[in-house]
Symmetry: C2
């Protein structure tokens, strides 16, 4: 296909495709004339992956380079080649400085969360950004004086695991590695607002039922 | 209690307490001398609520006034008095303009999501901001060409509802209305990053198990 078709099928502008080519994020096509090149399905897959990483995942060009360096390296297994993109997604939360008075509390909460996951048999890296995000969120909750006991967190973890497993099965339906990475990033990010919106709607429904709101009236059969 | 104690127990600075008093968000205390007033537990509850709305909920002063106007009005039932705060939380997403070419698709997805919730027996207002947020998220997913069928959304809804019910039970443990509003806002917002972090960690675990990563080695018993 020509560049214009690649652009249309990839859902990004021609100028953007040219930018990716200049940056070396997209490999060059096969020249057919002095001014035109031919592109294949592998270019389309790469283009869709770039869109997912940059637009959906909000990554910087440098982060995309880092993701591709691992994804393109057959020395790594599929877990790392897909997972490196997931680890590059924000928010990237750092522990407080060792000199920060908050640091001992951070270390305590981190160890507690790490311990909980290990106890549940979850295999995650200590460096997983989501583990830092979890630590920060639990720390904030407790610092403000709200309830966030390990058992509360465990309950959420138990609910989220089966749904994550179902989601992961969808991601694994893509045999091509690039498509699997694209799916992992896209489904992780794009379903987050859906999950949060449904939780808030469920709260509203629970409150409505608890306070015995009458259901909306049926339209009258006659207007007499 | 004096203003300094109110500030300490409420977890906000003296300057902030004075600002809330000037803005009329916090009712004045009982004057004891020309320069000092006495504050009660009701001031502390209101102060903690203000902190939850402004700091945790990220609301503007005007939004807080709107929340308090409903919360303080006995003409409304508990569902509305607690719910108005939840409806004021971001993100506040508006439908595209009626002249926007995207609008017909928005209307279609909105009707579909509204229909799904009704079918599940969920009692939520058409104006619920989370319904607009859900519509936007599903629209984005589909526009980018990813899978977001009604049945996929239903599955998430079914998973989220029981956990939302458990959460709501915690919020209802607070008999005082102001505490219930505070809890609704605080637990809604502060648990969101926890939920998302656990989902990402669960993905990592599922991938690790699927690709048969060996578990981390046990430390050797002897170093011979």
């Amino acid at each position: 296909m020509r560049l214009s078709e690649l652009s249309a099928r990839g859902g990004v502008s021609v100028a953007t495709v040219k930018y990716y080519l200049r940056e070396g994020l997209l490999p060059p096509g096969t020249p057919v004339t002095a001014r035109q090149s031919e592109y294949g399905e592998e270019h389309l897959r790469r283009l869709r992956l770039l869109r997912a990483l940059l637009t959906v995942g909000g990554m910087t060009i440098q982060q995309v380079r880092d993701v591709l360096a691992v994804a393109d390296d057959p020395a790594f297994g599929r877990h790392e080649r897909v997972g490196v993109a997931a680890h590059m997604l924000g928010p990237q939360i750092s522990p407080p400085d060792t000199s920060d008075p908050e640091r001992p509390l951070w270390d305590e909460v981190f160890a507690e969360m790490r311990g909980l996951l290990t106890e549940m048999g979850w295999q995650v890296y200590d460096e997983a950004p989501a583990l830092a995000a979890l630590t920060r969120a639990v720390l904030t909750l407790r610092t403000l004086g709200y309830r966030g006991r390990t058992d509360d967190i465990r309950r959420y973890a138990e609910v989220m695991h089966p749904i994550a497993a179902e989601e992961y099965a969808v991601m694994e339906e893509y045999p091509a590695l690039e498509e699997a990475i694209e799916a992992a990033v896209a489904y992780t990010v794009l379903y987050e607002p859906i999950l949060l919106a449904l939780r808030r709607l469920a709260h509203e429904d629970v409150s409505a039922h608890l306070h015995r709101l009458p259901p909306p009236p049926e339209p009258p059969l006659s207007s007499s």
